[in-house]
Subunit: 400 residues, 4 copies
Amino acid sequence: MGAWFSYPGAMPKRLIVGLLLLAALPATAAEPSRARLRDLGVTIGTMTPGKYNAITDVPGVKVGQVTLVRGDGKMTPGKGPVRTGVTAIVPRDDVWRKKVHAASFALNGNGEVTGTHWINEAGWLETPILLTDTLSVGKVSDAVVTWMGGRFPKMGDGDDVVLPVVAECDDSFLNDQQGRHVSTADVIRAIDGATSGPVAEGAVGAGTGMVAFRFKGGIGTASRKLSKEEGGYTVGVLVNCNMGTREDLRIDGVPVGREITDLMPRYKPSDGSIIVVVGTDAPALPHQLRRIAMRAAMGLARTGTTARQSSGDFMLAFSTATVVPHGPDALTMPITALHNDAINPLFQATIEATEEAIGNALTSATTTVGRDGNTAYALPLDRLKTVMKKYGRLKEPVAR
Amino acid sequence: MGAWFSYPGAMPKRLIVGLLLLAALPATAAEPSRARLRDLGVTIGTMTPGKYNAITDVPGVKVGQVTLVRGDGKMTPGKGPVRTGVTAIVPRDDVWRKKVHAASFALNGNGEVTGTHWINEAGWLETPILLTDTLSVGKVSDAVVTWMGGRFPKMGDGDDVVLPVVAECDDSFLNDQQGRHVSTADVIRAIDGATSGPVAEGAVGAGTGMVAFRFKGGIGTASRKLSKEEGGYTVGVLVNCNMGTREDLRIDGVPVGREITDLMPRYKPSDGSIIVVVGTDAPALPHQLRRIAMRAAMGLARTGTTARQSSGDFMLAFSTATVVPHGPDALTMPITALHNDAINPLFQATIEATEEAIGNALTSATTTVGRDGNTAYALPLDRLKTVMKKYGRLKEPVAR
Amino acid sequence: MGAWFSYPGAMPKRLIVGLLLLAALPATAAEPSRARLRDLGVTIGTMTPGKYNAITDVPGVKVGQVTLVRGDGKMTPGKGPVRTGVTAIVPRDDVWRKKVHAASFALNGNGEVTGTHWINEAGWLETPILLTDTLSVGKVSDAVVTWMGGRFPKMGDGDDVVLPVVAECDDSFLNDQQGRHVSTADVIRAIDGATSGPVAEGAVGAGTGMVAFRFKGGIGTASRKLSKEEGGYTVGVLVNCNMGTREDLRIDGVPVGREITDLMPRYKPSDGSIIVVVGTDAPALPHQLRRIAMRAAMGLARTGTTARQSSGDFMLAFSTATVVPHGPDALTMPITALHNDAINPLFQATIEATEEAIGNALTSATTTVGRDGNTAYALPLDRLKTVMKKYGRLKEPVAR
Amino acid sequence: MGAWFSYPGAMPKRLIVGLLLLAALPATAAEPSRARLRDLGVTIGTMTPGKYNAITDVPGVKVGQVTLVRGDGKMTPGKGPVRTGVTAIVPRDDVWRKKVHAASFALNGNGEVTGTHWINEAGWLETPILLTDTLSVGKVSDAVVTWMGGRFPKMGDGDDVVLPVVAECDDSFLNDQQGRHVSTADVIRAIDGATSGPVAEGAVGAGTGMVAFRFKGGIGTASRKLSKEEGGYTVGVLVNCNMGTREDLRIDGVPVGREITDLMPRYKPSDGSIIVVVGTDAPALPHQLRRIAMRAAMGLARTGTTARQSSGDFMLAFSTATVVPHGPDALTMPITALHNDAINPLFQATIEATEEAIGNALTSATTTVGRDGNTAYALPLDRLKTVMKKYGRLKEPVAR
């Protein structure tokens, strides 16, 4: 128990408390010691990011997050410590009445994304997407019903009933997951508090308790803007990372996980899961969105993960280009459709943004101490830069 | 029987109360005025049913149901009236540690069956299957977590987390669905109270508030026993019926819905949904169980439904022949596998039992008055017999 | 007509020749003794057929068929007798440059429909659909390449290469299938000879050697026209029927196969297959066309078949509403999209037309004697009418 | 147009002839100037290859290839030049009577793999797998029928008909593909000549005319052997590479395609395709083989390709562990089944072997001049080593 625990030196209780306080800061608070991949001089792919390099670069898309960090010490099932949260991706305002086209893909279905039967049947998404921990899926799903009922009182009383979209990853290494600490109020706060602009990354929202590549994982995002000739569309990706063994980890093709072999959790957490949400304003039809969702899996594969048995690796893609009305006035609607021959830049954008979003999750996440003192260490940025440089990838070292 | 037949005339309060009392009887209570399809002289297909003509004819399979009937009169969202419930299908005792092979199929995905990503990825089912109303899915899912936590305290604390399997239909024509009246205790009672032997049908459990073919629908079951030469296996089906327009309805090919055009609900309920659960002790592998699940859709098609836009038509199939251990001691296990060339009798059994289970739901369900006095009328058995006779199908009239 | 009825007595050579001459008549020749289901007084469903009650009622859709009937007597593998052919469904002229939206569904994949990977990936169909016998798939596929090369000399020389769509059923009970008797010229003749208007049914084209429900099967077609309020669209279906056991057969729900138990082939042919092609001018998107294709499987299920192990039961659906250009000038295109809420009439139309097309195949097909004197008997129309009447279905007997 | 055309110096006609003669050597001839990735000091992943680092390391698996190189100069459609061939993967001797479990996955379905409907329905593979050029699929499929007919004269005459498995890539940049130059004799020679042991790679068999990452592509293979604790199983992969843009190319994560930007084809070939065949002796069930096939797509993703619109990216996986009899004596069979919890090493092995097989194709393929003098240049090995060294990956330079 000694060696690894002594990193970075026996951690004094004070420090643990400090870390907890840090984590308890508002989700959008900047953490000066962390950075995004691109700030470190690591550039994934060749395409240009959008303004915030975030899923919110897709016009109308909003993200809201509630981070729950309470208590410390030994786990008392049902009581804590709490290291979890909820992340809401709102495809657009009033998505129930103005549905977006959508599709999903399961690379490895050891997990849950509720609502995908309907997404894939209808080709549309009509609710926010909620990310949370595994055992809270039921409660979060129920909370979405409450939220919808508040906005649409006729739901289930004349109007259609809602089928919530809730995706989970297992944060039981850090979190008292049995306690199911995400409340209805938390879910409503995440949805109603969703905003455009920068997105908090790392140990925030649903990412609070996640572990990826045996480092601290969590929320990451990135985007790509197509050239005017390619249509000028934006592709944004948001991930909740909880997957991967250490030795798997590649960043921009560099075997980082073979170079940084310490800072391991005290025991092997479950193999995790990852949720990848892709938004775009390109007018991709549902069958094309499924193709795009599959490219998110290719971006994931580039990070070295192997979609292990215990990993629930899910991709959701939606397009805001078309407004599909709820309770339409007409049988048909005029829409704009992307020709398949124009889809390649969207594929590339999705792959690049997924790979970068995962990197951003790692470089943004902060060391988190959870139940029983279990610790998921942050990927150390200086060492990362050293490794990237060793492998010829840090072309322009960035002064920090 | 007169007054309330004279829709839209006023229903005397006394009668409503009487009906409610009837509905409030224990779920397993025999209702003398109702019958199963076969008792009426209508025989679906050519194969022989098992002892109870129920999914529980598959050795080890149990069913538990909790029926919730409370209040009457105008709906007060969140307060009632309550016409809902929960039905639990337990594939075998301790299915978490002794998983069954399984697969699912969505004929029309306008609905929710949680847990299917994992069922189809792993090829196994490791929990009970819960049926309930749409808006209660979250609460029931959460209740399964509670139930599992009670049995397996290490779940999410060292052991894997559970991915509940909860399937829904929309009962908002009769039930205050917004109230989400199924409690954790109800779910636990349904699972823990599951028994082998006869299964209550009609307006019970999750079927309490269902409407099928604009008649009262709900739970139905049937089974088929293969001959010794075919392997001697049993196929059992349980359905929760909530789908279909009146004119669609065919029973054994007879257009019953075109013959009985009255007894309609006062307004068109949503197009419903149906959940079909198929169990067998035949050693079908997961890919073969998917094939069997698709045959359940063919049995459904025989009843005349068209899997309409608003209908969530889902099939789940499992086989108890193989015990897949949780946390296995070895990398492999010796199993018995069905050869594809032996699968035809299982297909036929599934189709026949599905068609008959749907019929049983209709002939078993009792007239139910719900919110706002909305009434789903029972399929009148005498008239059914008359129709079947007219179309040459009542070969052996059964004395009742 | 007596002698050959007296199976297994010897069939006089004279009769065989006569039958062959009959079969060798031009495919479009009326056979006075046969009829379509509707002419017999059997009406499937409630919707109205199009002008020809054929897939060609969908504007622009054409069908071409080449029937190959040569030789008689004992089979000499590779030499004959020949009882096969090819049927071409042309979604519209120049479909390579003006692609149609499309999707496919496999109810039971024991068979081949080439080209479906691309159909489902792209969401479009860009070639004619060819139906033929199983072992001729390679030759017919190669012939489509030749046909395409003749029209598009740059194909594979600058332009894209073609991925032919060829669907098969096994006609080896009647045909020397090993001989692969469909030639490139036959295929080109079928495509180039495709016409709108009435479609020959029964033992013609790819249906020449087919057996369905142990009767003579083959080509059938039907259509439905939606009301103006439903959009006024047309749904057309064409089937090649080769599936089903006798006892399975239901026509409009009537168990015809249990009533007519003679006229059986001398030995059990393979369990067959069925190809169902659905065309429509409704602006269904690819994901909606997959839903429609699944409804064709529901229409099939109504006929009593169980999609047996040896049966390749495939559905293809296409929409002519959208023209997807080959080598587009722009990244996007304005199109009209069907709202999901308007899809139900298309579902019902597909189910009805599929059921009726299968019936038409049976009532149109003529007794065919093939290899080794193997005989597939036509469904006897008088007896069919008697059965339908017995079961209360022949409301208006039609004078013939 | 100058610089890259002059590589390796204006190519004198003599040299072209010489190259052609070289290419015309028996497929198994060693090409001294080429090497496998591992020989160059590039090691993909961490697992150990089998004896030959080839799909043939899986006991019983054989590969046969026929390389067709004829003519040079300007293309005369139908006449040549010929740069194509056929590769046969034989899962085991007499696979018709001793079927292997199997599954397929389409990452991007712009292409053809015939026979997959049946593979995925039955969960088995019962024929050799044939790889060839796109327009030859029909002829090769027909040739498989001929080959089967020679071995099983009752096929289609009492016994089942065969559904050939033929996968294609488009070699029209180098080959007169319109000529469809693969003959029945070639196919039979490839199947009957299949052997265990080393497998020829690069511009051989179906790989003769392929272009990958704008370099010369073609056939590659690799394998991994699991440790005894992991079951001791072997996973072998064979690819036919025809996909990818230059800038995509990553080898072991190193952006080789951004470093070697010359040696480009004179015009952009189509975006290609890739076929990945995975064999194993691990007792994976069909649903597990689909999971393994999906990991092949992850290995592909690691090479930087994005599965572009025009690319047909298909994965097939089979297991030789189980013998599924043709025409079984019994309804069931005792088999050994892999537990899902033991699948991770198979995932990793598949990913590693796929990535390495693609690398082997590139490092083995030789510069090929085809139609119109179109030239696909071999990836220059010295420059590759320089690049790998620059990026810190050539740990142990190998003397050559």
